[in-house]
Every structure is written in structure tokens, then in C-alpha cells.
């Protein structure tokens, strides 16, 4: 089985020129965790994850203090709004470098790539580089596990 067999073919993507504010609205409306960022010809140029946007409002101490389980109330940082400047930035400046595979990519390879890059969704492209689908860790993992054969009967330890 290849990634082309388990991916979703309707992909929500966003142009590189869109703003952070537009991306946030799209994430909220479509309830997705990642948006492939595409150029005018529909080729992915980067990926934008929910956490890239949330990083804009994450308190600095989360990065600086190792263990934050003693903080029970984020106080002033609880309901933060990004600055208007941050909202107007193009997604090109916030996105991560693109990672995509072709439809013929094996499932375990796809899963390993996502694990290494800490991605939860993987864009899939046609041989000409256009975005044709997207597969989540769950899509890939479930397809992999479904291929496992049950142990032969009577052989149980």
C-alpha cells in the first residue's frame, strides 16, 4: 500500500501571500491542524501548522522554564491576542519549510519522515509538483496497522 491509497484528496491550502489573520480564520473554519502553503501554480512552498500561529502568543517562559507544572494560572497570558502587526504578516514569514512526498511513497517511510520533522500531516504531490492530497499520521498509521496479519491460531505463547 502506498500513501496515495490512504490520503485525503480534498486539501485545504493557503496561498503564500495570505496573512496570518486569514490563516487563523481558515484553521478555525476548516478545523484542520496544518495548511500546506502553495504558490500561484499550486505547488507547495511550505507548511503552516496550528502551533506556528499559537507560537505568536505563547508566553516566553514556556520556552525558558523547563518544567511548568507548578504554574496553575497563566494570568495575564491566558487569553492573549497577537498584535495587529503579527496578524498582518504574510504566512510566508511564519511557515516552516516544505516537506512533501509523491503518491508512490511507502507508508512506513512517510510515517518516519513525519516523526522526524514532528509533522502531524504530510502533503502529497503529483510528479509535476502540484499538491494533490494530504495524509495525517492517523491515516497512515491506521492503514499500516490494518495490514498487520493476526497470529496463526494455536500458536499463542
Amino acid at each position: 500500500m502506498k500513501i496515495g491509497d490512504c490520503m485525503k484528496r480534498t486539501v485545504v491550502s493557503i496561498p503564500a501571500t495570505a496573512t496570518v489573520g486569514e490563516a487563523a480564520a481558515l484553521f478555525a473554519a476548516r478545523h484542520v491542524g496544518m495548511l500546506p502553503v502553495v504558490d500561484e501554480s499550486g505547488r507547495p512552498v511550505g507548511v503552516l501548522q496550528l502551533r506556528d500561529l499559537l507560537a505568536l502568543v505563547m508566553p516566553d517562559f514556556v520556552r525558558l522554564v523547563g518544567d511548568i507544572d507548578f504554574v496553575h494560572d497563566f494570568g495575564a497570558m491566558e487569553a492573549p491576542q497577537p498584535s495587529p502587526e503579527a496578524m498582518a504578516r504574510p504566512v510566508r514569514e511564519v511557515m516552516q519549510p516544505s516537506l512533501s512526498v509523491e503518491e508512490t511513497c511507502g507508508l512506513l517511510r512517510a510515517f518516519a519522515l513525519m516523526r522526524q520533522r514532528d509533522l502531524h500531516d504530510l502533503p502529497v504531490v503529483a510528479p509535476d509538483g502540484r499538491l494533490v492530497g494530504i495524509a495525517s499520521r492517523v491515516d497512515i498509521g491506521a492503514a499500516l496497522l490494518a495490514s498487520w496479519r493476526p497470529p496463526p491460531k494455536g500458536d499463542a505463547p
Partner: protein
């Protein structure tokens, strides 16, 4: 003549490399030391045996012992615990928070390494400021300024003090009777001045004062068992420091003995513990000792002292005050450890030509300690809070430090100079 010139050249080039940060200071130090010993052996003014004899093992032992205790205490979360506790006690009141965090940092840095203290307290300070919705800048700057100021009060508070105590033969209690009262006045001056200079920021009412009450100090203390063990040992060591002269134990022996006791009691993962010890700093000290030993052997320091002794007409009191300001100005722009190590033999040779050098040692300690407050690069604690703040949304800039830190340095040096003159008879004893 030639050995003196050559030794001076080697020392000056090494210092230039250290201070300009063209080369890591440990690398520059060890290279300079190697060249110094090589030149000494070639020209016959400095031998390997003399180089080893120039290393002050009392200083190294004390530093290594205290570093080991800190390395054991660091991962327990004890520093974090104190900072969180200070945050809760402040109930979100900015000035109270300034005083509490400043006091915690100062007390810790009087007995432990300033840099470690600031490294561990500053992130929690940023946390408390963020959940309160106030600027962390006044608190972070206050912590660095007060830690550096407070560290001058004890023999073990600051590396220059360790060096001075070892050279002058001062005991732990000498620091408490001679330095502590003056440092306390300087510290209070620094605190009041920070309060005044940041009056706008500290005057804000935090929008979320209740959030700090939800902080749980007990959860911040990750390993209370180890923390308790190390604190018991540390407390024992501090008690021994008080009486070390009477029981004829060197501070180095007490610190290393305490480190040994703590290691036996805690039995940590030694790999991790010893990784936390700053070996680079210890090697830097050794390299500086070897270089200054070369200067001494080449007769340079005697020549310098001879020049200074010509200023015989200068009253000793004025000489001391000039030393406070001169050393402070130098240590505002460069590391105070090399300055101290280079000044020690100069002061010693002034003693040889008949001057009462006891007050000069204190002037050196005050100048080296308070001078670091003047610039963002003046002390390692300053560099640490500045680089931490660069990872936040409100970085501390060099210009800001000149506006808020430099006045603190000038004020503490001024207060110290006045008290130095008033207490001169006591400091001469």
C-alpha cells in the same frame, strides 16, 4: 630588561584576546600561559616549577568545592522554589516583588555562584512577570545588579574575593566585619536607586495579581530529598567558614570536604553532576595564575610597584579611593577576575616597599565587585540576564543598561568611597 618586556607583551596580547573576545577566554588564557612558560624557560626567567608554584590551589579548591555543591543543588529545583515562593509572597505587588526577588538572589549569591543563581532565578522571574502582565526588565536588571553587589560581602560570594582572601590571608569573618557593613549600605543604595529609576514600570498595577497566588512552590521543588541533603551540608560548611581560622582549616578544605560529604550522601549520577561544573572557568584561573607568575618572575610587577611607590606623597586613604574607582572603571568593561589576579602581586609588592596594604585589599574587592554593574558586559550575571531577555519580547539593550545600570555603579561606588574614608582606621586593621 628583555624578559620583562617579553613577559609584558605576552600578558598584554593574551588580555587583549580575552577582553576583545576574539578568542574564547579559556583558550586565550591557556595559550598565553603556554607561551609565557615557554619564553620563561628559553630566556631563563621562569621555570615549570615556578609556574606550578604560582597556581593558587586554595582559590581553585574553594571554587571547585562550591561549584560541586551548586551542581548538586541545581537540578533539585530549589532555586526555582525560592523564586516561586517570592512571587507568591509579593501577592503581585511589583515593588514587593522587586525587594523579595532581589533579596533571594542576593542571599543566594552571597554563598553560591552569582551566575548560577541568576541563571536559575531569571527564567522564573520572566514567568512571574508574564503571568502578572508586567515588564520583567526592572526585576531582571535588579537581580543581576543586587547579586553582583551582595556577592562582595562574603569571602565565598565572588571569585575576586576568593582570590583576595587567599592572597591577603583574610578569613571569612574578616569579610563579615570589614566588607559586609559597607556592602549592605551599597546594596540598599542600589535597591533604592533601581526602585527610583524604574518608578514608571514599578508603579503599574498588575492586571492579574491573583495569578501568582496560584503558583505552587512545592511543585516547583522537583527533588526535595536531595535539596535537603545538600542544604544541610552547605549549612554545615558555612558554619565551619565562620570558625575556620580558629580551627585552622582553609576555606578550600572546608569547601572540598563539604563537596565530598554531599557527593557521598547524595550519590548522584556523577557524569551529569561534573558536567555542570565550569571546568573552563577553573582552567582560565590556572592560566591567569601561571601568566601573572611569569610577570612576577620577570620582575615586571616589582617595576610597576616601584613606579606606584613613587606616589608616596599620596595619602593612603586617597590611594584606596582611587583604587576603588580605577578598578571599578576597568571591571565595568572587562572581566574582574584577570584584573584582580594582576592587581594582587602589585599590591603585595607595595607591601614589600612598606605601605600598609590592608585597606588596599578592601578597595580592590569593592572596585572589582561594584564596577561590574556599570555595563551590560560588566559581569557574567549581567550578560546572562541580558541574553535571557533577548529570548523574550522585551530585550534588555546595552543603551538601557547604560541608563539604568551605570547610575547604580556610580552610586554604589560613591557610597562605598564615603564609607571607606569613614571606616579607614577599621579597614587598616
Amino acid at each position: 630588561m628583555i624578559p620583562g618586556l617579553l613577559a609584558t607583551l605576552i600578558f598584554v596580547v593574551s588580555l587583549y584576546l580575552i577582553f576583545s573576545e576574539k578568542l574564547n577566554r579559556t583558550i586565550a588564557g591557556i595559550a598565553g600561559a603556554a607561551v609565557m612558560v615557554g619564553a620563561g624557560m628559553a630566556l631563563g626567567f621562569y621555570s615549570e616549577e615556578e609556574a606550578i608554584a604560582a597556581i593558587d590551589f586554595n582559590t581553585l579548591g574553594l571554587l571547585l568545592g562550591m561549584m560541586t555543591l551548586v551542581a548538586l543543588l541545581e537540578p533539585t529545583g530549589f532555586f526555582q522554589y525560592l523564586a516561586v515562593w517570592a512571587g507568591r509572597w509579593s501577592r503581585g505587588h511589583p515593588v514587593r516583588l522587586l525587594v523579595l526577588l532581589g533579596t533571594v538572589t542576593t542571599v543566594l549569591s552571597m554563598f553560591l555562584d552569582n551566575v548560577t543563581t541568576v541563571v536559575l532565578i531569571a527564567p522564573v522571574t520572566i514567568l512571574i512577570s508574564e503571568i502578572l502582565g508586567v515588564s520583567a526588565v526592572p526585576l531582571l536588571m535588579a537581580e543581576a545588579l543586587l547579586a553582583d553587589t551582595g556577592g562582595v560581602a562574603t569571602l565565598i560570594g565572588d571569585p575576586p574575593n576568593v582570590l583576595i582572601a587567599s592572597a591577603a590571608g583574610f578569613s571569612f569573618n574578616d569579610f563579615l566585619t570589614h566588607a559586609l557593613p559597607i556592602v549592605a549600605a551599597a546594596w540598599l543604595t542600589a535597591l533604592l536607586l533601581v526602585r527610583y529609576l524604574f518608578r514608571v514600570e514599578l508603579g503599574q498595577r498588575p492586571p492579574n495579581a491573583e495569578a501568582v497566588l496560584q503558583l505552587n512552590p512545592a511543585q516547583a521543588l522537583d527533588d526535595p530529598v536531595t535539596a535537603r541533603k545538600v542544604l544541610v551540608v552547605l549549612g554545615g560548611a558555612i558554619l565551619l567558614f565562620f570558625i575556620h581560622n580558629r580551627i585552622h582549616l582553609s576555606p578550600a578544605f572546608i569547601a572540598l570536604g563539604a563537596a565530598a560529604a554531599a557527593l557521598v550522601w547524595v550519590r548522584p549520577d556523577t557524569h551529569k553532576t561534573f558536567q555542570r561544573i565550569e571546568w573552563g572557568v577553573l582552567i582560565f584561573f590556572i592560566a591567569l595564575f601561571v601568566m601573572v607568575g611569569g610577570l612576577e618572575a620577570a620582575g615586571v610587577l616589582r617595576a610597576v610597584a616601584g613606579l606606584m611607590a613613587r606616589a608616596d606623597g599620596v595619602p593612603p586613604m586617597l590611594f584606596g579611593v582611587m583604587m576603588i574607582w580605577g578598578v571599578a572603571a576597568l571591571s565595568a568593561v572587562v572581566d574582574n577576575v584577570p584584573i584582580t589576579i594582576a592587581m594582587i602581586p602589585v599590591i603585595e609588592s607595595l607591601g614589600v616597599v612598606g605601605m600598609n596594604i590592608r585597606p588596599l585589599w578592601w578597595a580592590l574587592a569593592f572596585g572589582a565587585g561594584f564596577g561590574g554593574n556599570g555595563t551590560i558586559i560588566g559581569s557574567t550575571a549581567n550578560i546572562v540576564v541580558a541574553s535571557l531577555s533577548e529570548r523574550t519580547r522585551t530585550p534588555i539593550t546595552s543603551a538601557l543598561w547604560n541608563k539604568r545600570g551605570l547610575p547604580v555603579m556610580l552610586a554604589t561606588c560613591a557610597v562605598t568611597s564615603v564609607l571607606y574614608v569613614l571606616a579607614f582606621p577599621l579597614l587598616s586593621r
